[in-house]
Symmetry: C2
């Protein structure tokens, strides 16, 4: 199979499995102009699979960067009405959402953090209908990558741009399990997630205890009525979709009030294109009370102080060191890929789908139950090759979950 | 000067002279994704010249084509609310508008004309605030070209894509008078327009009589209180801008009730990417009452029957055969360029700026005064190398305006 054929199969995977587009449904496609050829393939595939209308929301990282560097702060404190209405109308129309990531991961390096934070909060407030529909399973959505020259030359600075793009495409496709029959490969992938989640849920751990040689020593409390998710998920209408392609993580929303100890980063965190490197965070009673970084401490501060609850965890995810993504041996500088190569935690919003009847609860009800709520959700990687994780049972006994960076038990 | 430097000067020309962007003003940039590099240069220049915010409305011809081929007719009968609001809000915010043309001119060949016509009418109705602001001088706007591979390979199919793009860029820049100092070149160009318009207005012609060896024999009535425009124009606030770059035409809105005779095309008409070739139109009392074409008669029918008044003329434009655009020797397949290489007429909407106090009149008042109104405005080229045009005075006497395709009198 040549690269072009693989890319076409990948486009089909994103439309059919990723956002599970139905006959007669609209598609909202967030796409960078750099990968116009791939976007055209996606639009074509969407219509072939019965899309009633495809709306492409094009954007360009460099144009955005010029805007952040030149427009005043107040322009980022609200979205233009038309822009919010575009997103919200997609929720009302029951569109599926497909978001393609291709930007230079460092395009926002050095940009004004106050503007970036203001924009994150504004989007969350002004596009409430849209984000609620996504968070509460009313819309199916999928985020996936596509190799642009800008991204590829960042990952492979040593080869020619053309060669770097081909290399990154192959890495994206390998990581996304695009073989002769990717639809079947993802069905199989899903079965292994089901077995892993079953095992974790059956343990009824009250907390996880992380330790690693870099100094990490952290206890993350788990909620009695929360459970583990991973792979695809069911929307409120029962239709199955894959919000992330690739995905290797099994995750839950931890108890927002019970996180204690210290954790050290395993990989850089790239936030809005700005890197945070070699950082640590100390938690007490669920709150990040202290932190430091070799580079980008201001970025980390911006994330933690986005709003009242952004200093608390919304996600706790387990990813084995052995995975197709780690096997590529590449640091993608892109959370979608790098988070699936490493155990991670996330500041900010938790997941209703990880809580019993969470889709029927309000954000406030979830918050009171221990599932965090915030305008932001930012992953950071903590999974070193030597990380050990013990599950703590209600009686204080423990069971190994991870030993030396990989699952302690084969459950498949 | 190398090509890159010329393109940068051109970008500055479009921002500074084209839409005359002011300090603190917004810019609304309609741009095809194919020329992302040029669009970035424009955005950069706009911020350098004091733009408060640049909104880029990206689009792609092929994605549009897939949409026309797959989405049902009713999707084209109204614009999504957010899309209309985006345009209308630009009018309310007093933005300048810059529209870049780069699409493959034939991308819509064979597309459903009913959908294309429905979309034209819907845009006019739903974006009334926006189009009124443009038509009545409340917003400054500029339309210009940029060489994409899709367009370039259509114009120069015989060379490699890369070479074709360079050739088309050079042709666009030559046609747009981009030399060492394009801002000065356009000031000079404007002075020659002023002299030409003065001469025409001083003649007080009541009609023009067109004849050519291809059979053209047409009398176009002129309105007593209309005048000739050309080059740049003043907005309602007195700021000067160039709605078209390039521009070589001197034009007016003729009497919508007095056009009689037959006219033959001099160049193909490309409408929404679909070609009409070797066509003729017969007028009586201002109305197109009969027509024919070797190819694309259905396209012509779609234009003429768009609405009640689209069968009448809104524009009559004089362009000498000797011009930088004709000198390139190229058929651009793009009205912006080809209309400036040939005398032309246009079906549809007339120009308030060509009528005395037209900016203060309503569309209906203008219509009653003889200036046509319609949802559409479509140019078609009639200027053969041998065209003769006589101006008819109120007393029946005549003065030569064009002899053998060029101005009969040197007035500079």
């Amino acid at each position: 199979m040549d690269l072009e054929q693989r890319i076409e199969k990948y486009a089909e995977l994103l439309v059919v499995k990723g956002c599970a587009l139905e006959q007669g449904q609209e598609l909202y496609l967030n796409a960078p102009v750099q990968v116009v050829g791939f976007v055209r393939t996606l639009v074509k595939k969407a219509y072939e699979h019965g899309a009633s209308y495809v709306t492409v929301n094009w954007h360009d990282g460099l144009v955005n960067r010029y805007t952040y560097d030149n427009a005043p702060l107040e322009r980022f404190e609200h979205l233009p009405e038309w822009s919010a209405e575009r997103a919200n109308s997609m929720a009302r129309n029951g569109a599926a959402v497909l978001t393609i990531l291709s930007e230079d991961p460092l395009v926002m390096r050095g940009a004004d953090q106050a503007k970036l934070v203001a924009r994150t909060v504004a989007a969350h407030v002004d596009c409430k209908e849209y984000y609620d529909a996504i968070d509460f399973g009313k819309m199916r959505w999928c985020i996936a990558g596509a190799a642009s020259e800008q991204w590829a030359t960042r990952v492979f600075p040593e080869t020619s741009p053309k060669e770097s793009v081909a290399r990154l495409w192959n890495a994206v496709l390998d990581a996304s399990r695009v073989d002769e029959d990717p639809l079947a490969a993802w069905d199989k992938h899903q079965s292994s997630f089901a077995a892993r989640k079953q095992w974790l849920n059956d343990q009824h751990f009250v907390a996880l205890h992380y330790t690693a040689s870099n100094g990490t020593d952290l206890v993350v409390g788990l909620l009695d009525r929360a459970h583990w998710e991973g792979g695809g998920q069911e929307g409120a209408d029962g239709i199955y979709f894959f919000p992330n392609i690739p995905t290797e993580e099994v995750f839950t929303s931890p108890d927002r009030m019970h996180v204690d100890g210290i954790v050290y980063s395993a990989l850089p965190l790239i936030h809005h294109g700005a890197p945070v490197e070699d950082f640590w965070i100390r938690f007490e009673g669920g709150r990040a009370i202290d932190y430091g970084a070799r580079e980008g401490a201001d970025i980390l501060k911006g994330i933690i102080e986005t709003d009242e609850n952004s200093c608390r965890l919304g996600e706790c995810a387990l990813v084995p060191f052995k995975s197709p993504i780690r096997n590529t041996g590449i640091l993608f500088y892109e959370t979608l890929f790098d988070e699936n190569a490493s155990c991670h935690l996330a500041f900010g919003k938790g997941f209703p789908e990880c809580y019993e009847n969470g889709y029927e609860m309000s954000c406030l009800e979830l918050l009171n139950a221990g599932v965090n709520d915030s305008a932001t959700h930012v992953d950071f990687m903590i999974g070193t090759p030597d990380i050990n994780i013990k599950g703590i049972h209600a009686d204080g006994s423990t069971t190994n979950v991870f030993v030396n960076g990989n699952w302690a038990h084969d459950v498949l």
